[in-house]
Symmetry: C2
Subunit: 474 residues, 2 copies
């Protein structure tokens, strides 16, 4: 027995905890405040996580817009508290944390400031898996001695063969990424495919492989199990009160599932239980107020049925409802994969999922394919988001963008440096270098936040100011 | 590739659907009515389930008590609807569907009538795994040409070695059971142990092995996956709107998880989706009214932490709270495994979990072990529930039951035939043979139901009768 145990090589699985970023982004619309995070940081720091994902993604926008918090201040406070644990952020390639392509100087500066303020690992991805859109961010991270992790947006389709993923992985390793993440936003990756995929990637590259998925379709924990057995090094999990549903598998559950196996994480369940105890009242409160909807907690099997993200399907339904054309749902469902093919078979993830979905609706409702074409469809077919895995359908492209000459270069090559102008534009609000970046990404939202901040600093109670203004109605 | 596929032997996994019994018993207090079930029966019948669990367990009691429904009538209606699918019930050995030991003639008659009214598979278990408590039911099922499945109550502890389970399985096969179920009521079985256990059982017996677990602790789907890979033939699942939490893994999810593997169930996801669509509004309604509590939907990691069922822990907390002794919780948690040892290390399942838990509370709160002893503890230590896996602690037994001579025979051997007396007692209410059995198990509840039924038949509106009685208050 002792012999048998010895003969199995130990290969402890690493855990990245998502409670401070993806878990609350997925379950409570990114509304967790810094104040809610800080009291538990010390205990989280003692767990021995591989990393804590705590910044980036939608948290930056949500902090400024809804919570009236400076995201940079949040990062510095988290860095202060986490003495032993690596902090991870999610970074949308050339889109940074926003929704457009930015100039390289903005991307470089953002990476530099993220690392300077405390980030260790930057997970960088592109919705089209166009690696050119990641180059600037990866180079910048390496220059700042950060850990650049490149994430592949996982999707299904003819183009996405094991050879495709292997080739991408090799190129990612060659680009200088220190690790590779399979980012399965929609929970499309089923267990048997996880085995194949991880095995293939392991053959292709030497850098560690991280799997990120969501429980949406219900297979996530099994997918993790199969991936880990196939050699996956790191999995992303969320402490149980904010786990499952549209979030990640529960940290404690995965820790227990691998206990006593060669992949034993070594994490202490009693300590994890204290962290769960801290977040449980937050879950209960969010359920009571409706901030957490019970619909996000169940299983949504549609993803596996139609191989498109659950969120995309509900968007289609509401678009059709608005038009009073709900009876066209089945037709639209059949149109979606056709439009996706015409558009070069991109992964169905924000924003490509919306672009493909809306165009499919228009193609069906208008009675003629591509009779009506959205601005975003034109942008995509003009190459402005980057290169898709397969070429666009030439006829469709012609019909949609006419004689406009599509670009084939890296989109950001056409964007002139932006930083200097931005800095000039927002100079009156600047209190720290990082404010320039907040403004660069969300000019309006950041301006409002800067004004709010100033009011606070001038000891003007915002509530009182409000009352005052109400006293002099125009 | 084709060759590789051929070389793997196909071994389709069988699915038992629990929506009509365990799923609603676990999530909405067994409140699903026959009327809610019937409209979907035809579609369910076309799926190709191994079986549909739809009767027994707590449904019998709940039908009579809360729904004012004749459980026998429900069974006949379900049998009418399910033309191609086997119907399965859960049967508590010598306790039948009640909470006491009954005489053999009652057990035999109940089995006979269950099969006569439409049951194909009777899953029979005993809370102590004392096989003598199953003998009568198994024999009766075989006599009626039913499928007797014996379920082992899964638990953890020194006594529960792989050799113990193998030996039990062998004895079960020898008893004439047509299949064996591992019944993991609390979600204690983790994936790695499922592999070991199923492999061991497969070495021991030739009859099919069914695994039944609950998602309570969050590992259930992974446990199923490992069990199936180790040779498990049948798993119990619930259609997604009533899956997970304290219920079973979702049917659709497990079907998808094994698709394209040697264990492919062959079930049609589109047809399953129609069934899910039918039950989804019921889930939403139950969440709205509070009949389904969001607490039963999350992960309860305490089971894996303390290796006792989650429900038992919350019982301990509320007992201590009532006594104003919440600070003794940790002490009681330490006392539980000690009492369990003293009591012969029984599985912690109703009623043994309550007996052990309450005694542990008394041992701590009274300041002296076994100074106060419950009636139920005395009964257990007198052998009245049957034989435990290990002997009782002699000193503890002496202190608790004094000079009372414990029984060592099968408890039902001491119970005289009951049927004739029962039939006499309830003759005035009898409208069908089966009424005798309803009365045998739940005399008071059945009597009330019989009166209600009579009132309905006499075209006396029960509501009007109520009003009448209120018109003449005493
Ligand atoms: Co995510
Ligand atoms: Co059960």
């Amino acid at each position: 027995m002792a012999n048998k145990e010895k003969s199995i090589e130990k290969k402890p699985l690493k855990i990245t905890e998502t409670i401070l970023r993806d878990a609350h982004q997925s379950l409570i619309a990114t509304r967790m405040t810094t104040e809610q995070m800080l009291p538990i940081v010390d205990k989280m720091d003692q767990i021995g996580y591989h990393a804590v994902e705590c910044w980036g993604g939608a948290t930056f926008d949500a902090s400024l817009r809804f919570l009236k918090e400076d995201p940079w201040e949040r990062l510095r406070k988290l860095r202060d508290g986490f003495k032993n644990t690596k902090l991870q952020m999610l970074f949308r390639g050339q889109n940074i944390l926003g929704y457009n392509h930015y100039a390289d100087d903005v991307v470089e500066y953002f990476v530099q400031k993220s690392i300077a303020n405390g980030i260790d690992i930057i997970r960088i991805f592109d919705c089209l898996n166009d690696l050119r859109n990641l180059e600037t961010a990866v180079k910048a991270a390496n220059k700042e001695n950060g850990h650049a992790q490149i994430a592949l947006s996982y999707t299904l389709g003819d183009a996405y063969t094991l050879d495709y993923w292997k080739d991408m992985a090799k190129r990612i390793e060659d680009m200088g990424a220190k690790s590779l993440c399979i980012k399965d936003m929609a929970g499309l990756l089923v267990p048997v495919k996880a085995t194949e995929l991880v095995q293939a990637l392991k053959e292709s590259v030497d850098i560690p492989i991280d799997l990120h998925t969501h429980y949406t379709s219900g297979v996530a924990s099994m997918t993790y199990m199969k991936a880990v057995e196939a050699g996956c090094d790191i999995i992303d999990t969320a402490i149980s009160p904010f786990a499952m549903g549209t979030s990640q598998p529960a940290t404690e559950v995965m820790v227990e599932a691998f206990k006593g196996t060669p992949y034993d994480t070594g994490l202490d369940l009693d300590k994890l239980a204290e962290i769960a105890d801290y977040f449980r009242p937050m879950r209960e409160e969010a359920l009571k107020t409706g901030l957490m909807n019970t619909k996000v907690l169940g299983v949504n099997i549609q993803t596996l049925r139609y191989q498109v993200p659950g969120g995309m399907l509900s968007n289609l339904v509401s678009q059709l409802k608005e038009m009073g054309q709900e009876d066209k749902y089945e037709q639209v469902l059949e149109e979606v994969p056709k439009v996706r093919k015409d558009f070069g078979e991109p992964p169905l993830v924000t924003p490509s999922s919306q672009i493909v979905g809306t165009q499919a609706v228009l193609n069906v409702v208008s009675g003629e394919r591509y009779k009506m074409v959205t601005k975003e469809s034109k942008k995509l077919l003009s190459g402005e988001f980057g290169q898709t895995v397969k070429p666009f359908d030439k006829e469709v492209q012609k019909k949609c963008i006419g004689d406009t000459k599509p670009i084939t270069c890296r989109p950001a090559d056409l964007i002139k440096p932006q930083l200097a102008d931005i800095e000039k534009e927002m100079a009156q609000y600047k209190q720290q270098d990082e404010d320039v970046l907040s403004y660069a990404l969300f000019p309006q939202v950041a301006t409002e936040f800067f004004k709010y901040r100033e009011a606070q600093q001038n000891k003007v109670d915002a509530a009182a100011a409000d009352t005052e203004s109400k006293a002099y109605p125009v």
